[in-house]
Amino acid sequence: MKKILDKIQTIFPLLPNIFSAFFSRPETENYPFEKTHIPARYRGRVSIREENCVGCSLCVLDCPANALALEKDSKNKFRLIHYRDRCTYCGQCEQSCRFDAIFMENEYIQPAYDRDAFFEILVDRDGE
């Protein structure tokens, strides 16, 4: 008897798996109609805590995709620009910043119809 069972197992090993998969919950989700769970550390949008930024340009130097640019006139008058379409969302800017200013949130990136939507001004400081 055991030999027959073994023989059946060699021909149909997938049979119990099929039936258990048939009766359990499916693993895929109907994406546009049901949203999925995003973990907290997901590298999504780049955003900034404005009061901490001093315009040191460490993030600009370290960005592998040249997606950040700093236009600096003086110590208190500078603009930090982020090009969202060049960015690879790698997180190197968050790692390089020493003042805990630039960080990544866990939101999905929204698509847009024209390129101007991707030009984002992160810090616009107007001093002397």
Binding site: T10, R41, Y89, C90
Partner: protein
């Protein structure tokens, strides 16, 4: 009978990435095949000379999609060797954890691809369902499913929190049951064996002559695993087995890879248990002193070698990468000769190609 040349060309449902080989058929048997690579060449090694050492971490992550973490680990090890920097032990353990998780991910993906090429769509869906567990775990730890971006020169970027360790243990226990199921299927299924046994044979002397590495070599009896032979990154403190078989055909490679997946799960459990306390990164200078360093590691497909040469500035002078898929690809014409047309798909999937790695 006349000879026909079929292009298994740059675009084909068999291949994940573009590569071309033209098979010459006579009747149903394959006589010859001519390989052409270079469709995915992006000039990464030359690009690396124009960017700083820190920017290169992100660049080398994108050499390959599946073994991305191993590439960055090897690169960071090379630069840390040049800087003569001591990496804290907790960082090394977290790096090893992600390396092993990536190994599990890569082998499960490969299993699905082999099953799909043979015709077993069900096993394809099952192994990719199990792969989702690993991907979710990696996303919890590092922030991305495939591109982890967790290495930095001197250590890792993010730490493992308590809740994450618990999720890891649960996920790993579910995975180990499912991998045992997969092993039972591959070991027993007669139709699977009928398609994979006896084809794509590589003898041991062929393996040594072509310098093949990785699971392809281990399935032919050559017992070479860098984690045991030349331990890097604290692998000498963990215990695991190196699996090898002697048949050398596609079935032996499947068995070797599934056993390796079980071993990787056990390694992950050991790493979580033994995780030491401490810092997660050491600060690294931006200017790297002049010198050369070679660092090697064991990717899911074999041995990866990085040679980094610096001339004292902030950008490297030369980076050379040798990836394991190239060694396996060269043996393909030899494996394919004498087979039937229908076996080509099984052999091509059994070698576990990653053309992006091979072309760089």
């Amino acid at each position: 009978m006349s000879r026909v040349t079929i292009p298994i060309g740059p675009q084909h449902p068999l291949l994940k990435e573009p590569m071309s080989f033209n098979i010459t058929l006579e009747g149903e048997n394959v006589i010859d095949s001519a390989l052409r690579l270079g469709y995915v060449h992006r000039g990464i090694e030359k690009l690396a000379e124009t960017r700083s050492f820190i920017q290169n971490i992100t660049l080398f992550e994108r050499v390959c999609g599946i073994c991305s973490h191993i590439h960055t680990t090897t690169y960071c090890q090379a630069v840390e060797g040049l800087l003569e920097l001591e990496v804290p032990r907790r960082a090394v353990y977290i790096r090893m954890l992600l390396c092993e998780l990536e190994r599990i991910h890569s082998h499960l993906l490969w299993m699905g691809v082999l099953a799909k090429n043979i015709g077993l769509n069900t096993v394809f869906m099952y192994s990719w369902r199990d792969r989702e567990i690993v991907l979710d775990l990696m996303e919890e730890i590092s922030g991305g499913r495939v591109s982890h971006a967790i290495n930095t020169i001197g250590g890792v970027r993010k730490d493992l929190k308590e809740g994450q360790v618990q999720k890891l243990s649960e996920g790993l226990s579910v995975l180990s049951e499912r991998v045992d199921e997969l092993l039972r299927i591959v070991d027993n299924d007669r139709s699977f064996k009928a398609r994979t046994q006896g084809i794509g044979f590589l003898s041991e002397e062929d393996v040594r002559r072509y310098c093949v590495v990785g699971p392809v070599a281990r399935a032919s009896g050559v017992d070479v695993d860098l984690r045991k032979n030349v331990p890097y990154a604290c692998y000498d403190e963990l215990s695991f087995k190196v699996v090898s078989m002697t048949e050398g055909d596609v079935w032996a490679r499947s068995m070797v890879r599934i056993h390796e997946t079980s071993e990787a799960i056990r390694l992950c459990e050991q790493i979580i248990e033994k995780l030491p306390e401490g810092e997660i990164a050491a600060t690294a200078k931006r200017k790297v002193p002049a010198g050369e360093f070679i660092s090697r590691s064991e990717a899911p497909r074999g041995e990866v070698v990085y040679f980094v040469k610096s001339d004292g500035s902030q950008t490297p002078a030369r980076v050379k990468v040798r990836t394991p898929t190239l060694t396996a690809l060269i043996t393909l014409p030899r494996q394919l000769s004498g087979l039937q047309m229908a076996d080509v798909s099984a052999v091509v999937a059994g070698v576990d190609l990653c053309i992006a790695c091979a072309d760089r």
